[in-house]
Every structure is written in C-alpha cells, then in structure tokens.
Symmetry: C2
Subunit: 335 residues, 2 copies
Amino acid sequence: MVNTFGTIQFKEMPSIASTGVVVGPMEKDSPFAASFDEILPLENEKDETYEQANTRFIEKACAVTIQKGHEQMENIDVFIGGDLINQLSPTNFAARQLAIPFLGVFSACASSMESIILGSLLLESGNAKSILAGASSHHPTVERQFRYPLEYGGQKPGTAQWTVTAAGFALLQKHAKNAPIITHATIGRVIDGGQKNPLHMGAAMAPAARDTIERHLKNTNSRMADYDLIMTGDLGKIGLSILKEMFQDEDSGVILQDAGAQFYGEDSFFNAGASGAGCSAAVFFSHIYKQLKNGVFNRVLLVATGALLSPLTFQQGETIPCIAHAIECRMEKRG
Amino acid sequence: MVNTFGTIQFKEMPSIASTGVVVGPMEKDSPFAASFDEILPLENEKDETYEQANTRFIEKACAVTIQKGHEQMENIDVFIGGDLINQLSPTNFAARQLAIPFLGVFSACASSMESIILGSLLLESGNAKSILAGASSHHPTVERQFRYPLEYGGQKPGTAQWTVTAAGFALLQKHAKNAPIITHATIGRVIDGGQKNPLHMGAAMAPAARDTIERHLKNTNSRMADYDLIMTGDLGKIGLSILKEMFQDEDSGVILQDAGAQFYGEDSFFNAGASGAGCSAAVFFSHIYKQLKNGVFNRVLLVATGALLSPLTFQQGETIPCIAHAIECRMEKRG
C-alpha cells in the first residue's frame, strides 16, 4: 500500500515476541513497577561514568529481552536504538558490545517507536528474522547534558517533567498468533507550535502528537473509539490535558492516555510527570505489552513523543520542534 | 532473502532518480567540483547562526534534488537524514520546513548511507513512492562542537582531516531502467580498534570499513575485482592506506578508493584529506552518481564510514567506536 501521508501498513504484521524493561531506583514506586523486569542501581559501585551507566541499562534490557524470547544474541539480525545523549554514545557503546549490525536513530523521546518502525520494515522486507529495537534514558546523564548537573540542586516549575531512568527493548519477529502484532505505523512530521520553554515540553509536544494521531486515524479510516487505548509517550499531565482539549470533539474519554502522566502516579515531587526516551519505551514494553498479551487490550495506538530541542538551539532563541511516531498493535482474540 | 550477517538484498531494486549536492566555498577547488550543483556562502549576509547555515545547506540540497527529479515536495513520502550536530538540530529544522514525515538517523559520517538503506526499505515495502534521503556537515559548526571554534586558530597534525561543508541528498523511487539502482546494502557493526586519537580518525574507522566490505563481499558471494569501484566515505589518505594494507591479499588495486582522500586533491592544507557526513554524501551523490548514470561504472560499492565518538567520551578516556554502512549500486548496461 502506498500512502503519501506517512502511514505504513505492514502486510506481514510482525510480532513483538518479547520485551525487556529495566529501570532505576526512583522508578520502583511507579504504578507500572510490577511490570518492569529489573531495578538497577543508578551508578555502579565500580568506577562508572553516567554515560557508561546508561549503556549498562541498555545492555541489561537487551539481555532480558533476548532471554525472555528464548533467543541467542547471535541470532539477532539487527540492533536498532537511540537515546538522548549527544552522538547516541550510550547506545553506540552498547552496540559495540552486542557486535551485531546496528542502526542508530534519533527522534528524542520518540526514538523507541522510530526503532520499532524500522525494525518492522526490515522484517517486512524479508531480510531479517529477529530484530532488537528500543530506546533508553538515564536521569542524571540527561539532566547534566540538557539542563544542570543534579548536584547544583536546581529548582523546577510545576510544568517540568522528570526524566525517567529506564531502558526498554523489544524482540521483533515474524507474525505469530500468540503475541501482539504490529499492523500499522505512522511516521511523524516535525511540528513546531512556537513554544520556547524547555521546562514545559508537554505543551510543545502536544501538537506533534495531535498531527500523528489525526493522520493515523484518517489513513487507517478509524475513529478513537475503535481503540482500547491511544497512549502518548511523555506529554505529562499538562500536555495530556492540552491534547485532550485538541480532541474534544472526539469521544476520547479514557481512551486517550499518556505514559508520562501516569508514570510516577500523583506524587507532586515529579511535577507534571515523567519524560525521556525511556518513559514510553518502559511503559509500552512492560504494562501495555502485557495487557495486549493477556487479551485485556485488542487494539492500541502507541504514540511516542519527542521534543527535538538542544541546549544550543534554546540559547539561540529557537522554538522547540517536536515529532511523534506511532505504531498500532493488535492482539488476536483467542478462539 | 534472510541473512544473519546484515546484508540486505533489495528485490525491487529501487532507483536513485536524482541527486542534489551543495557545498561551501572551500569545496569549490575539489577535483569533484564540476559535479556539484551549487556553491553556497558559509554564512549568510543576514543574521544566521552556524546551525541555521547547516539547515540552509540541507534545504537547498533537497530543493535541488526534487527539482532535478521533476518532483514536487508534496509528493515525497518520507524525508530521512542526519548530520553531526547534537540532537541533529540542522536536519530537524530542515524537516520542520519540509513538513513531510521524517526519520532522523545518526551514524556520524556514515549517516548518508544509513538514510539510503532505510529509504530503500520503505520503497521495498511498497509503503512509499518517493523518498528524500541524505546527510550533511558544515565545517565551522562541527569544529566548534567537536573541537574548537575556528577563531581560536588551533593547529592540527598531519593525520587530521578537514570537515567538509556539504549537503548531499538523493531522490529514491521505484526501479527504473535509466537510473542507477540499489541492489544490496550491508548494515554496519560497531567496531572499535582501540584508537583514542580524535585527530587520526582514518585509523579508527578503517577496521569498521574492512568489516563491512568483508561481510558484503562474503554475503553477496563477490570479490573486489567484480566491482568497478569500492569507495569508502572519509578514511582520508592515511586511513585508506591502512585499509589497503588490510586487503593486501585481494586485488584491490585502483578499485579501492576513498572520497575523503580525493576530496581536496593534494593540497597539504587539508592534511590527510576530508571528513564529515557531507563528504561521502557529496561525492557519492555527484561524481559517482554521474559516472554510474553515464555508464562509466556498472557496479560500485559505496561505504560511508563514521566515527561514533563524542567530545565527552573522548574526555572520559574512551576509545573511538566506528561504523560503516554500505550500498551496492548498479547501472544496467545499455543495449
């Protein structure tokens, strides 16, 4: 199927054979915690840089994913991933260790879904049997690079979000009846609503989420009510309320949710909620994946959202361009 | 075809319908200059940041590519690109302007070929008719981020390479008889030879180039002598000589060349030659593309090479992980 509006229809409908999600210690009180695979220390006792810690999370999430999928690393055809650190250093170093063909992607916090889309295309083409795809973020590493080192003790406004420490990966394989499958994807466009405040990213990203959801619904000839869940990545509580207003004519009700808004529950310490490339990856590949696998959900749209700003473009007075990539997952009803 | 060693066989063999290459003023004396489309000023007369200048190069190269392909931007399904700047800011801002679905990639100076591989997969899947894919680099922007602002007047050793100011893009469309086609690609693995010197990247990248070329030849059951040209991206003069030593048992002769080694001719001002994501993009999409189109070459292997270091990982004492992505292009002989 050819579609000029960025929506891909996967004829082979690859399956998500297994997933692996590892998080940091701050994430253990998340409402989603029961679905996470492991909690790792933020820093190792050994001499470890923050970037190396981020790499350790990626490697562990990949190992868990492979193990749960009863696979061996040498059977994985391609590793696809991204993170928030300049030049994708943590993912590059993990790829060096994995030693399999690697594709680095960057869509900021939407990188998880870009990875899944590309992995599905590789499977669809018949050129691969097993793909390992996902994304990660590591709180102190991201804060030091984009804002301030944590040791500065900077204060944040209520619109700010807390970068999740998590790595979430998925093993993609050919279509299977007993696993969630990927039927469609919509590639994001870069949308800029003119926002300039890097401590209010939900407001910046909401228009990109809207654009992708609208295009996906239109291109698949669907309505919101056709889905059990449409979940964005990390708009946070405020961003989600903005998005809900944008869709007020639709019967969005409880269908439209946000991983970042729910990630840390109602604890006001985390301000408007969670963010980070690991946020959507952790929730989609743990709780949502299990709900699909258990048949609680039959059809969901997962929309990872990314703010494509840099500390430099902010200083240069630029607005914040954003993007959102979506995948549609289904679980066949059991007979 | 399924292949566990990272080589993709494109059944549909998409074509490179047109290309666009714009370069900066330092590049006008390149032996390849006659094949470049336009020479743009490094900075605009208007108030423009370096990052905005990089964006301007990307936008111009895309516009030229579309124009030469007799296409309209609204007919392009997906834009795929990458650059060397943190968070891919120049490419993100270009994507905002183009307003079509966008996939950001990062393989450092190998990003051009990662873009082409993903674009070919999208075409292969039948989900797209026209893809715009490529990469860019802008000398002063890259130097300020990775090394020092040019105004510092830093000296460099003879092993150093000069970051090219160039943006090179290609319009990928379905198989056509009168245009170069993409038959195979090999996705790179992250290879780290233990090099630590960021001013001797050719030595760091040569093992990654070797790995990709060896896998490609093995997986396609080919020998070097089967190609009219195997050209790496930006190993430079020294890196190329290292690579040639690695292949001394093969009859590499004049077949094995490097875009960066030839880019600035024999001018010692440029030390070991050219580098940058725009280096391979500019040469592959201008001179090499024309040689294919004119039937001078019938079968070439283009191997973009990338050093995945960051200023931070260098400071942290890490070695330089590298990657190389390859595409095989052919031009059907005319009857």
